[in-house]
Amino acid sequence: MITLNNVTKYFHTKQGRNYILKDMSITIPSETNIGILGRNGAGKSTIMRMLGHIEFPNKGSITSDHTFSWPLGLGGGFVGKMTGKANVRFVCRLYGRSEKQINEIIAFVKDFSELGNYFDMPIETYSSGMKGRLSFGLSLAFDFDYMLIDETLSVGDARFRKKSKEALMQKIEHCHVLLVSHDMGTLKDICDAGIVVNQGQMYYYNDINDAITEYENINKKAG
């Protein structure tokens, strides 16, 4: 269960405050895979970051007894001057893994991400697709209650996308996802429920299809 209590979140812009959430209270039930929909700039990623505890509401609080992954996006959280391998090792240490486990995880990530020689080269030489592959492979090695995924599935070529999707389907048998995506197909495949973010409010739908319908309505209204 994820509970938002009177959460207000805004950013300062030249035109004044830009509200992402305005005094929002909502309870999101557990044990579901949730897709987050909204127009560009509606605040999907910000909400994701707030759930991952790296962005904080201006007012109110978000509580949950679940563990969340770091937000998996396009290669955030890597240090450019370090090799892919060193970065993987670093994250494993953050999560308190033993040296033996670390070596296993490294072998797994190397194999999954298909980076080849690049795995031993500094991250700054990677393309954004390669970073995304590394990031996604690494996240699969850990168990969280919720994985926060921000468009990572659209990384790489068609074959790799298929592979990631399959890996994720396997993964969500024992964990859940909060997925931000603009690809309705992926959302329908992976998510059961949906959240639509629009004009400072979040709406929860038990069925992802209802959420998609609502999202399309919003898009139509906006023209």
Binding site: I54, G76, G77, V91, R93, L94, G96, D143
Partner: protein
């Protein structure tokens, strides 16, 4: 995932950050690493030469080379902790996506790396000291060690304070780099306060770092003492900086994370 206790998380984060910082030092910049270890020897050598040229060989009743080695080691540690802490938040911004990494952790890890490097430099000075028969008779080892530990805490407190201010006012960091050069001349690094005229003494003793230097070499050499050291003054600085630094940090932590 098994829930870990806060201390366990803290230690895991510290280990990861420490090894990462150290790895970066060794792998990324080879010349930087060379200078880290070569600089103190150069400083001692140059100052000894300057002194011999200006005042001739005779004079002191203590070993001037050992005096410089001791002071430069302490001063360099202070300077490095300060400059490394200062840029810590911006340099490690990318790591804050992992919620267990708090900005202050990155500073603590950097301080630990500096302490570690200082330890290696001290060991190499001792090795050289033994080989060339420099003065290694320490008057009061526990007090010298305590001086170093206290200096680490003081530098950390100052570093944290500046790091937080620097995040919101970057010009502070730039001015610190300039100020640091002057601080070295005014901190009893290559002289003792006793050698200085009385009027200037009073001025220099406003600088807290002078007290640390006097404390460290005052307890090291048999012929020197800590008569100019005001321990209350040092404590006041340390506690004030630590308190204000932590207070500002607590208030601004969330803003630093989502920078």
């Amino acid at each position: 995932m098994i829930a870990r206790k806060p201390l366990q998380i803290f230690l895991a984060v510290q280990k990861a950050l420490f090894l990462r910082e150290l790895g970066m030092r060794f792998s990324v910049s080879k010349s930087g690493l060379f200078w880290t270890f070569f600089e103190p020897f150069m400083q001692v050598l140059v100052m000894v030469l300057i002194k011999v040229v200006l005042f001739g060989k005779a004079g002191d009743n203590f070993d001037f080379a050992a005096f410089l080695a001791l002071n430069f080691t302490a001063y360099n540690m202070f300077r490095n902790i300060l400059t490394k802490s200062m840029g810590s938040f911006t340099a490690n911004k990318g790591l804050f996506v992992y919620k267990q990494v708090k900005p202050i952790d990155t500073i603590i890890a950097r301080v630990m790396v500096e302490v570690f490097i200082t330890g290696i430099i001290i060991l190499s000075f001792i090795a050289i000291g033994i080989y060339f028969d420099f003065d290694l008779n320490i008057q009061n080892l526990p007090m010298v060690a305590f001086g170093f530990v206290w200096l680490v805490l003081f530098s950390f407190a100052l570093g944290l304070f500046i790091a937080v201010s620097n995040t919101f006012y970057p010009s502070i960091g730039r001015s610190i780099n300039v100020i640091m050069t002057f601080i070295m001349f005014g901190s009893a690094v290559f002289y003792t306060i006793e050698m200085i005229p009385t009027q200037i003494q009073t001025l220099l003793l406003y600088n807290p770092l002078t007290h640390f230097m006097e404390m460290i070499h005052g307890h090291y050499f048999l012929v020197l003492d800590d008569r100019f050291v005001d321990y209350h003054y040092m404590l006041l600085w340390t506690l004030t900086l630590l308190y204000t630094g932590l207070w500002f940090y607590r208030r601004l932590e969330e803003r630093i994370i989502s920078l």
